[in-house]
Symmetry: C2
Subunit: 283 residues, 2 copies
């Protein structure tokens, strides 16, 4: 069978939609579909471009479909999805964000988020355990919030949160403190931190401003970004001698906990394997 | 790039869902996806298992999606879909059946059916023009009705319609007559016809009864069936010396008129090419 005709989808295929707006930039369809194929699972991850005003209708329709295996939720739907599921995992409730919907055996839909655990696991795989670290977090939206709670849960000593929306930042800091963690708001000045993280979309466009002043980051600092392929910021940080992590690593660490929900947890979804498969997909 | 990792779907892929219940048996995902790939079109046909009570919700949701290129409708939704589109083609109105939804530039949804034209074009490609033929049609549901009008339109001399649901058969015959064609109801006795067609699902299961008595078909008669891979009926007819057409041929002739709706009419969707691509997909 030649590559040009090898079927990846047939009538029996189950679907794992990823819903977002925009959608063209997502890497999940390629990575998940390649991993399904690797494991001999007849399923395919498909991009579904849902406008915000169409999300509720999409969820209503999805409940009537028989061959979905779950739903991956991405920007800008992670908060709205909170209201569209039946139950929330503890981390989704804390993060006020859903990036995966799992279908339970009893028919109830569970909203979960693995953004935070993906972020932390990515650092750990690279040898940078956040335990004891002082963290500057820029961005306190859905992803930033998930990351904040996962870092706190992983033993980060202190979190300083910055957001252009000051109220959103102070709200997150207050919720972290209410959960028993050390957290304050502050300016996006990276000097003196062990870990600085960009959880804003800044860097998705090539000419976006930097989320913080790279010159103020000490060489050797851990710098992490949620932008999939990294950005001008992460490239400058790398040149500056920082230890850099980008969004693709965070994403590649999310498949294992999602696959657990899908009932495929016994197979190999290690970041090492996912990264190898994802690398092979690059042209 | 190896076959096992060649991506067929990424974030930019457009989706062509086929909705049905059941769905596992459909061949459209493989055939369409292979044809899209052949033509370098970034789109994928995906099976969507929609229960009848979920069809309206699916259509409502689909209207809010930005990356669908159309919707293929199959059993048992072809009649219900009539009410879920904005406009109907003449042949859909006559056949009271929709098997394809095209999105017009002005945002309106057009329901069309190419079951009939696919059936007739398949016969013609095989050298059997229905013009002047006496036809026995068994089955007067959505597909049967579409086939009846297409055969009449192609110049069939007379249609005799049989259905276990007598009222449905006489209703179809009356509508054919109202449109100016020669049509009556009759028993499923194939003796004396030039063309006998099975447009019922009989034969989808291996132990289904035969739709008519094969012994009563004269050798050389044209026998056509809508069952994709044929059935015990078509295999017996073949042994009996009939000229046999099965559903896959009818289906392979439907891509061209559907692709026209998708804006890809200038590319090669000839049944010859589709059949070659479909054959290459078989394991």
């Amino acid at each position: 069978m030649t590559p040009s005709t090898a079927p990846i989808v047939d009538g029996s295929s189950r679907l794992l939609p990823i819903v977002g707006d925009p959608i063209a930039q997502v890497k999940s369809p390629e990575v998940w579909s390649a991993m399904f194929r690797l494991h001999g699972i007849n399923a395919v991850c498909v991009p579904v471009h849902v406008r915000p005003d169409g999300l509720a209708a999409f969820f209503r329709a999805a409940r009537g479909l028989e061959n979905l295996c779950g739903v991956i939720v991405t920007i800008p739907h992670k908060v709205a999805a909170l209201e569209l599921v039946d139950d929330l995992s503890d981390r989704s409730r804390l993060a006020r964000s859903v990036n995966f919907v799992a279908f339970r055996a009893d028919g109830r839909w569970l909203g979960d988020t693995v953004d935070g655990t993906g972020f932390v696991d990515n650092l750990r795989t690279g040898g940078d355990d956040p335990r004891g670290m002082r963290v500057l977090l820029v961005g306190s939206g859905g992803v930033g919030t998930a990351i904040a709670f996962a870092l706190a849960d992983a033993g980060a000593r202190e979190l300083v949160v910055y957001d252009v929306d000051e109220r959103r930042a102070s709200d997150l800091a207050a919720r972290l403190r209410a959960a028993g963690y050390e957290a304050t708001t502050g300016m996006p000045d990276p000097a003196g931190f062990d870990l600085v993280a960009n959880a804003t979309p800044m860097g998705m466009q090539g000419d976006d401003p930097l989320p913080m002043d790279v010159e103020r980051i000490a060489p050797g600092t851990v710098v992490a970004d949620v932008i999939v392929e990294g950005s001008r910021f992460t490239r400058l940080a790398e040149v500056h001698g920082c230890r850099v992590y980008v969004g693709s690593g965070m994403m590649n660490h999310q498949l294992a906990p999602m696959a657990e929900h899908l009932g495929y947890g016994h197979l190999d979804w290690s970041a090492e394997t996912v990264t190898r498969v994802a690398s092979a997909l690059r042209p």
